[in-house]
Amino acid sequence: MNVVTLSQLQFAATGMFHWIFVPLTLGLSIMTAWMETKYVTTGDETWLRMTKFWGKLFLINFALGVVTGITMEFQFGLNWSEYSRYVGDIFGAPLAIEATLAFFLESVFIGVWIFGWNKISKKTHLVAIWLTAVATNVSALIILLANAWMQKPVGYVIRNGRAEMNDFLALLTNDYGLIKFVHTLMSGYALAAFVIMGVSAWHLLKDNETDFFKRSFKMAATWAFVASILVALTGDFHAAEIAEHQPEKFAAMESIWETKKNVGMSMLVFPDAKNERNAIESLTIPSLLSYMAFRETEGEIRGLKDYPKEMRPPVTPVFLSFRLMVGLGFFMIFSSLVGLVLSRKDNFTDNRLFLTIMVFAIPAPYLAQQLGWLVAELGRQPWIVYGVLKTADAVSKSITSTQVILSLLGFTVLYGMLGAIDIFLLVKYAKKGPDTDVSSIIQVQGRG
């Protein structure tokens, strides 16, 4: 394999690994802050115990999210130095701003939150978790704006042999990034809510701490349902945006080969990339795809055949990832709605089948998130910056394939071990359940 492919593999592997931990951080930070707010405003001890229990899982997960994030920042220079040099004038700024504005805030106040229980007042402690939570969300916004610039480059001019920024505001208000941000953020909230529902269901099945986990489940079901609906809505907007700005990606997502008006959406499709057609295509709802892409049934969708083969994204993986992601999204809406309705009733824990399903549903949002990134990044190929710079031209020139093979091996072994340990610890502490005694905190904070 050459340096480009190896570097792509490494970026994909390290990025997807990083993304196992980020969405739970995004969602669980806000939800933990929410629980602590309830505790501070009501004084109800259960909310404090919830804060501590879910907060612990948040922290075990947080550690790996942080350390794997540094890899992402360094990799632009390590493996993609031509990219960094060519677009650094506009792409470097958001990364530096993210560190200064958000990453500092979250990293400093997470320390205050963990170690501050008996050192600062109740209210200051609450402020610490909110600052951490808001900062992680702002981090995501800035990073997604940077990623959006690679998808829909704005506010730049090609000058001095590189892309130079000429409109910073355009970068910050890139609609592609803003929609993507809400889509991603809501999917993070949904994921965290599914983790809470799943873990709670596991304990409820064992009749363990029933009040505690009923309350957790009920809270999470609301978050999960609202967030999943918003994921779908923003996903719909996002797809329309892609249809307009990245028609090849859209065509690959839907496996559309021929340019046509009035394109229907087929429920059953399987692409046959080799022969540039679909092997299966049935159960078609007329005009639906045209409508979803352009908000009019007459909308013309450009097919993949309009583009030379080397300019098309890899159709089969993009299409399958997209379909599966959407399917999982619908499953999440449906199951969280059922959860929302059932958890209103006091005896909902009798429904053991539903609780069991919710335990096994934990991986669903994780899988959906990974698939979403595959659609976004594979769908942009062969470009690294859409329409501006090809991936093949972006790689570092001074590195050899041996170097990248070794680093990729290193990442695989290291991340494999750390990931296994982290998931093991998450499961261990999730199964262990909440601590019964929080009196020491209440005593100290009462004085504070």
Binding site: I70, F76, G92, A99, F103, F115, M165, Q403, I421
Partner: protein, 351 residues
């Protein structure tokens, strides 16, 4: 304003970010790889980890910011520095990743084998970055074998990982290790109590002389090995920078001898900051020189971002860096008390 003003502002900020990073992570790395000498029991090891627990993550962000600032302000330098030093930086990255999770993971399972493994991980993953940062900066001071044609956008590098392990690079590596060892020991002295604190003071005292010897050797060897002194010879007033470094280092010993570890730690901070400033002052206007062709030097003029980007970044830094400094000082104040054995044993939240 002219672009060169902003290029100079960002050169200064670049130096400050690295200096502050080494000052802050220096003591975390130092207590990390000195843990075996400092702490004798499991409780003492936990005290040590908890002494850095609330702040290590925030300290590491200075590195992320230094990296981000290099990317935003000097993208060509960022691109070539990272790709040319690929293997060394990958190793550094692995070490920093392991170091970070070790703190979180160590206390999560109550088994001697588990804890011992993470103790070893902390020592190795703290020592490696100290050494590698030193080696990397030694090579940056010396220049690396690259040939850059900026007009034709054609860059080449002719170095290897083994090539970085030259005598000057290694000497700088040892200098960093000793600086952080003393720094970390002093941090243990002022942040813990009893035997642990006393051992920190003793170790700092013992390691001071080797540090001085290496520092003198470094200053001497820098003359034939690098061009850092050129700037100081051109403008002798700049010699104040290395002078402050040397005086601070001497004061570290003075205050340890007086039993005043807080002041010794303060001057250890100054020593690290001014050692970095000495190197950076000598580099100006280069960020990374080439040791085979002066025209290939990466300078603040030939590798910077455009005027607009530098202006925007200056505004961002002018607003947010002071805010960051304010809340970081606040946090250090909250956690200013020494960490005791009883506190760690009684607190289920502790690492």
């Amino acid at each position: 304003m002219d672009i060169s003003i902003f290029q100079i502002i960002w050169f200064v900020l670049w130096g400050v970010l690295w200096a502050v990073y080494f000052m802050l992570d220096g003591f975390v790395l130092g207590t990390g790889f000195m843990a075996g000498f400092l702490a004798k029991s499991d409780t003492e090891k936990r005290v040590l980890i908890n002494a850095v627990g609330p702040v290590w993550d925030g300290n590491e962000v200075w590195l992320v910011t230094a990296g981000g600032a290099t990317f935003a302000a000097f993208p060509t330098t960022y691109a070539l520095m990272f790709s040319n030093l690929y293997s060394a930086l990958i190793l550094l990255l692995f070490a920093l990743i392991v170091r970070g999770v070790s703190f979180e993971f160590r206390g999560k399972i109550d088994s001697p084998v588990w804890k011992k493994s993470w103790d070893t991980a902390i020592i190795v993953a703290s020592f490696l970055p100290a050494l590698l940062f030193g080696v990397a900066f030694g090579n940056i001071f010396k220049g690396i074998p690259m040939k850059n044609d900026f007009a034709a956008i054609n860059f080449s590098y002719d170095g290897t990982l083994i090539g970085l392990l030259n005598s000057y690079g290694l000497l700088t590596g040892v200098l960093f290790v000793l600086l952080f060892a003393v720094h970390g020991s002093l941090y243990a002295a002022i942040k813990t109590t009893g035997d642990l604190s006393r051992r920190g003071e003793e170790l700092a005292n013992k390691l001071w002389l080797p540090l001085l010897v290496v520092a003198v050797a470094f200053l001497g060897y820098t003359y034939p090995a690098t061009k850092l002194y050129d700037n100081f010879l051109k403008a002798p007033v700049l010699l104040i920078v290395p002078l402050i470094a040397v005086v601070s280092l001497l004061l570290v010993k003075v205050f340890i001898a007086k039993g005043s570890c807080h002041k010794a730690f303060l001057f250890s901070c100054l020593t690290i900051v001014f050692v970095v400033f000495t190197g950076v002052t000598g580099l100006f206007p280069n960020l990374i020189p080439s040791n085979i062709d002066p025209a290939s030097n990466l300078t603040i003029f030939n590798s910077s971002s455009s005027l607009l980007t530098l202006q925007i970044m200056t505004v961002v830094a002018a607003i947010f860096v002071p805010i960051v400094i304010c809340y970081k000082i606040w946090v250090y104040r909250i956690f200013r008390a020494r960490v005791t054995n009883e506190e760690v044993l009684g607190n289920p939240e502790a690492y």
